[in-house]
């Protein structure tokens, strides 16, 4: 596993960085995409940890399906966290 040390460190930075960005950014779409990136990083982690089954599951469910559901939700709700420059989001809903 020694030769893997550089890729692992890159992966750590990528995953943690994506997590921080996902929390900090105001644009929810970017946040969701970085959540997908975290899942991608995790699935590579699982691969390195000799867990191909888990890696495959995380790739299929975490990277693909979760991200898609998040994106659909954003399309239905709002794209920005503070909702003031919320012009591009599909407006739906009413005050009832």
């Amino acid at each position: 596993m020694t030769w893997l040390i550089i890729p692992i460190i890159v992966l750590v930075i990528l995953t943690v960085g994506a997590a921080i960005y996902a929390v900090v950014t105001k644009n929810l779409l970017y946040a969701v995409v970085s959540t997908g990136l975290i899942s991608l990083g995790l699935s590579l982690f699982f691969f390195i940890l000799q867990a191909p089954d888990v890696a495959l599951t995380e790739a299929a469910i975490g990277v693909a399906l979760t991200t898609i559901i998040f994106i659909i939700t954003i399309r239905n709700t709002t794209q920005y966290e503070d909702e003031e420059n919320d012009n591009s989001a599909v407006k739906g809903g009413s005050n009832d």
Binding site: A51, P52, D53, A55, L56, T57, A60, I61, A64, L65, I68, I69, I72, T73, R75, N76, K91, G92, G93, S94, D96
Partner: protein, 239 residues
Amino acid sequence: MIKKILIFILLAVVGYSLVDVFSYIPFGEHRDTVGDFYLQQSPETLKVANTVTSIVVNFRGFDTLGEVTVLFLAALGLSSIMYRRKRKGEKDVRAKKPSSRILQVGAQIIFPLVVVLGAYVFIHGHLTPGGGFQGGAIIATASLLMLITYRKFKVNHNTISWIESIAGVAFVSIGMVGLLKGMSFLENFLPTGELNSLLSGGVIGIIYVAVGFKVAAELTGVIDTVLLNNRPDSNNENN
């Protein structure tokens, strides 16, 4: 502001305790766990090459039954939460504008390939990495592709609920057969075959195929529900 400080104190406490606890848990060392027993029994008794599969389907098969149920309930709960009464003449609308020709042709080519890939993954679940959940998720991704590309592509809810029911009933019935034969629930009652051949592992392969169908149907149902309810709202909804 006080709230922020409290949050950071809480995070510091949780973080410190986690770091402290895990500093006592060595990484990459061998521990005496039930895993050793599974690693020994899986190739010898069950003739299943993939030990994770034999744990998921046989040793801890009850967990998997519960897990399939969780997904089933999520699909059900989702459509219950998102449910709304249709107005007269209203149709399920998803489309705003049609997608490009290239995307359509591409989706037509890719769709069967991805479905075959998914089926391959769950049929070979006991031999190679992957299995019912992974294969099912892959197939769901394929139908997602069709849903997005073809605005008129409709998931047939009848078919889905049939697949889901039959696969679920197959899972429970296979478990019941063991019970009826005087053995325990979910026990393997078929010959186990030879290690690393397609027909090895007795009921494990069959159950994982059922799980694959069920997961594919459930995940497709989840995505379709979320997509379908994607319509602007009306005022007379809350009644």
